[in-house]
């Protein structure tokens, strides 16, 4: 399957993975920045931007990925229920 088509279909997983990777990168960059200076006043901005931003993006990515899983389950369950309803309607007609 075409990668673009796949990405369009799995937009929530793509977005979730991107957010999670970005969050992890931000955390690593923040750690490098914080460890590069001994002044707390210089460390705190890195903590507030890259540290907290990284945590935020990681959480967002996890949420999006779990949402995608739930969407899949929802679609499958709805398909089963529609199948049951169709069969019920068929039986009702033959009754």
């Amino acid at each position: 399957m075409n990668v673009l088509k796949w990405a369009r279909l799995q937009w929530d997983r793509v977005l979730g993975a991107t957010a999670a990777v970005l969050g992890a990168v931000l955390l690593i960059v923040g750690w490098v920045h914080v460890s590069g200076t001994g002044f707390v006043a210089e460390q705190l901005p890195y903590l507030a931007s890259e540290g907290l931003g990284g945590v935020f993006l990681l959480g967002l990515g996890t949420g999006l990925w779990l949402s995608a899983d739930m969407r899949d389950q929802w679609r499958e369950l709805r398909a089963i229920r529609q199948g049951i309803d169709t069969q019920n309607a068929g039986r009702a007609r033959t009754q």
Partner: protein, 175 residues
């Protein structure tokens, strides 16, 4: 003269009756979330993001440790608020998903129970069952009849039709 009981047409609805009667509004969209479910999580996530940016700008603007600590507090609070939004989003999705799963399982259980009861002899004179395409006749409790559209035959009809007795339920041996 011969017939098979077919489960009622409303059985599909039976499984969902309990959910419909409950006070919780039923969601039946293409996704586990209705539009109203997205409102609070969306607002909380945006608030979290905005608070994070404000905290970052604020903390970068000062070198005073006590002021920086306050801005950092705002940032941490914003992350918590944003996380709460994500959690609410997931919880509402899981709730709807669980409800749909219970509906489907209830309907499947109902169907299974009705399929087991679906082979019933209506005509007291008819003893043996036969389904379309079968060349052997069966006892009414034979497993080979379960779930099939069964026609019930009397002893005279069996003799006339020339069908063979089933090798599993052995109708002739039970006489």
């Amino acid at each position: 003269m011969t017939s098979v009981t077919v489960p009622g047409s409303r059985r599909g609805a039976l499984g969902r009756t309990a959910t419909r009667n409950s006070r919780v509004r039923r969601h039946d969209g293409a996704e586990p979330w209705a539009r109203r479910d997205a409102l609070l999580p969306g607002v909380l996530s945006v608030l979290g993001l905005v608070g994070l940016v404000i905290g970052w700008v604020g903390i970068s603007d000062t070198v005073s440790l006590s002021r920086q600590t306050r801005w950092l507090g705002l940032g941490i609070g914003s992350v918590v608020i944003g996380g709460l939004g994500v959690v609410l989003w997931l919880v509402s999705g899981l709730t709807h998903l669980g409800r749909l799963r219970r509906d489907v399982l209830a309907e499947l259980a109902l169907r299974e129970g009705q399929d087991e009861q679906s082979v019933e002899v209506i005509d007291a004179g008819a003893r043996w069952g036969i389904a379309m395409g079968m060349r052997r006749h069966h006892e009414s409790d034979c497993e080979l009849l379960v779930g099939k559209d069964v026609r019930w035959l009397t002893a005279a009809e069996v003799a006339e039709g020339g069908t063979l007795p089933c090798g599993i339920c052995r109708p002739e041996a039970r006489r």
